[in-house]
């Protein structure tokens, strides 16, 4: 009965197009919304995981977010912290850092899109490295030590893309970037990092960042790496007992903060997605109900001619399947296009889209099954009398 279903779809064009359009819109809505949420969760988890092993000490007023700029910590106090924790940390991987947001994040609960990071020369790895991954430069240098460039900058992978998108200029070693009105020459381009903060970073030597921001003598936080797994607690104890005005933010804290922030957003978005999916199912059920009602007599004639119940159900189900397949595929393409090109960030994920296609088809089939079963139960003589 597939050819009968196809004929029905083709001959009842307007109804078919309206149904397919409805399913397409619903599917697009669901996939785009869940795509954004899925991206949020992925990046948040990657961010938290990549920071594994880092301990960030910052002023209490800066809260528990990482990275946090804006609240200053005197350099002398930062130096004291480094000294007091030296016995429990790896001093070569500990550094004072200055953060400043150059571009706000695209989505809530994410690190800034561009973040100026001032770090002591030779200590860059304390920021760019992690237990999970040490990021190497894709081009140029990964440290300011030994560079002859007067105002050097090392640019994270995503930050380079942002500059390229904004200026239309290809970012290479030697390209001069305008940072807060000052020219900085690109000395290094970092490879992709699992840590979103490193990808978004525009790294300057600490003293030059302090000059640029007018924050001589101040930093935003201190990055510490414990000597081993057992000394985390010692570091925490030192900070808590001697520096009550400072907060300790670990990767666990980052993860917890991000998760609690995203939980409400995720719940809201999931509600909208569920409503959209239910709307698609309701739409199919309504369309099928109307379709089979208006075709009651036609179905009665088919039954009178010898079509079995299952032949009738089969033709209706084939029709719903083909309509929902067309709508879902178009929804997949439309949402893929939106996720890839229409948003500021490329969120296209084929696996995510493919996950929703069978779900949508199954749901619409289930929605169409009830009217199909109902109409198949009607006696031919009743169907023929139907006005």
């Amino acid at each position: 009965m597939i050819d009968y279903a196809i004929k029905n779809i083709l001959r009842r064009r307007i109804r078919s197009l309206m149904t397919i359009s409805g399913i397409t819109v619903m599917m697009t809505l669901v996939i785009v919304i869940t795509g954004i949420v899925s991206y949020q969760v992925r990046t948040m988890n990657a961010h938290a995981a990549a920071g594994s092993g880092k301990i960030n000490v910052q002023p209490m007023l800066a809260g528990m977010t990482y990275p946090a700029g804006g609240i200053d910590l005197p350099e002398s106090e930062a130096a004291a912290v480094l000294l007091d924790t030296e016995a429990y940390s790896q001093p070569a991987l500990c550094a004072r850092v200055l953060f400043f947001t150059l571009k706000e994040p695209l989505y809530p609960n994410q690190p800034p899109e561009l973040i100026l990071t001032g770090i002591e020369a030779g200590k860059e790895e304390s920021f760019t490295g992690s237990v999970a991954q040490d990021v190497r430069p894709a081009a140029g240098v990964e440290t300011f030590t030994g560079t002859t460039i007067e105002q050097p900058v090392i640019v994270g992978e995503h930050a380079a893309d942002v500059y390229e998108a904004e200026t239309g200029q290809e970012i290479n070693i030697g390209t001069v970037l305008d940072i807060l009105g000052q020219p900085y020459t690109v000395a290094g381009l970092l490879d992709h990092s699992a840590d979103i903060v490193v990808n978004n970073a525009v790294i300057l030597p600490l003293d030059q960042a302090q000059d640029l921001l007018g924050k001589e003598g101040f930093v935003s936080s201190i990055l510490l790496v414990a000597a081993d797994i057992n000394t985390d607690a010692d570091i925490l104890q030192v900070i808590e007992t001697r520096y009550p005005q400072l907060n300790v933010v670990t990767d666990d804290t980052v993860r917890r903060n991000a998760q609690s922030g995203i939980a409400l957003f995720e719940a809201m978005v999931n509600t909208i997605s569920t409503v959209a999916v239910l709307c698609a199912a309701f739409l199919i059920m309504t369309v099928t109900l109307i379709t089979v009602r208006e075709r009651t007599r036609e179905i009665g004639v088919l039954r009178a001619l010898g079509a079995s119940k299952w032949t009738v159900i089969g033709s209706v189900i084939w029709e719903i399947f083909l309509l929902s397949l067309a709508g879902s595929l178009l929804g997949g393409v439309a949402s893929g296009f939106i996720l890839a090109f229409a948003l500021q960030e490329n969120l296209f994920d084929i696996v995510h889209i493919l996950t929703y296609l069978p779900l949508a088809i199954l749901l619409t089939l289930a929605a169409g099954l009830v009217p199909a079963l109902n109409i198949s139960r009607i006696l031919p003589v009743e169907a023929l009398r139907y006005e």
Partner: protein
């Protein structure tokens, strides 16, 4: 002659709101193979109800229905569907052609319900459409045909599966008298040539007299 259809004390009642309608009140009838029967009677006399029971589209409230010596009053819906598919052909007053199918498809679909492949079904459908004079209309849709042509398609659809008998419910009811006469002549010809038993319900006495035997109905009973 061999009895092909037999009804014994068949009654049929159904509810219309709070009213119980007695459509058939103890009908006894025997129809012979190869004959052309006309059932006549005023509106509401039970003619169509009888036709629906003969056509296995409805079951009697009481009584027995036999087709080819087989009791059908105790069959389930699946078994009745099989009988409709194999042994019966229907012709309706309003033609009831499928608007989304072409003339050829409208006829061949009846064979596809029997599990015959599309190509073979269409080949047989072509033969029958040729016999009813519609070989030039194969790819047209019902909306493009005249009333007489539509009824010819319905006749081809009823006969293409070579049924034992054909039930026609007011087959000329929606046609002008000339076309109506042509349709009955066609049915009569097929009845004689193919030996198919035909049972038609009609209001028209002249049409009824073109058959072999007239069965008169009134108030759910046979008058003769």
């Amino acid at each position: 002659m061999k009895t092909i259809l037999k009804l014994e004390n068949v009654t049929k009642k159904y509810s219309l709101g709070s009213t119980v309608v007695h459509a058939l009140r103890g009908v006894n009838i025997e129809l012979e193979k190869g004959k052309y029967y006309s059932i006549v009677g005023p509106s509401g006399s039970g003619k169509s109800t009888l036709l629906h029971i003969l056509g296995c589209m409805d079951l009697p409230s009481t009584g027995e229905v036999w087709i080819n010596s087989r009791p059908v009053h105790c069959l389930n819906e699946t078994q009745l569907t099989k009988i409709r598919a194999v042994e019966l052909g229907f012709i309706f007053q309003s033609f009831h052609l499928n608007p989304i199918l072409t003339v050829l498809e409208n006829v061949s679909i009846a064979l596809q319900f029997l599990g015959i492949g599309k190509a073979a079904a269409q080949e047989r459908a072509r033969e029958w459409l040729d016999r009813v004079g519609l070989d030039h209309r194969l790819d047209h849709y019902p909306s493009e045909l005249s009333g007489g042509e539509r009824q010819r398609v319905a006749i081809a659809r009823a006969l293409v599966k070579k049924p034992q008998f054909v039930l026609a419910d007011e087959p000329t009811g929606n046609l002008d008298s000339k076309t109506g006469q042509e349709i009955i002549s066609l049915l009569r010809k097929i009845n004689r040539e193919a030996g198919v038993t035909i049972v038609q319900v009609t209001h028209d006495r002249e049409i009824a007299e073109m058959g072999d035997e007239i069965i008169s109905f009134r108030d759910g009973r046979i008058l003769q």
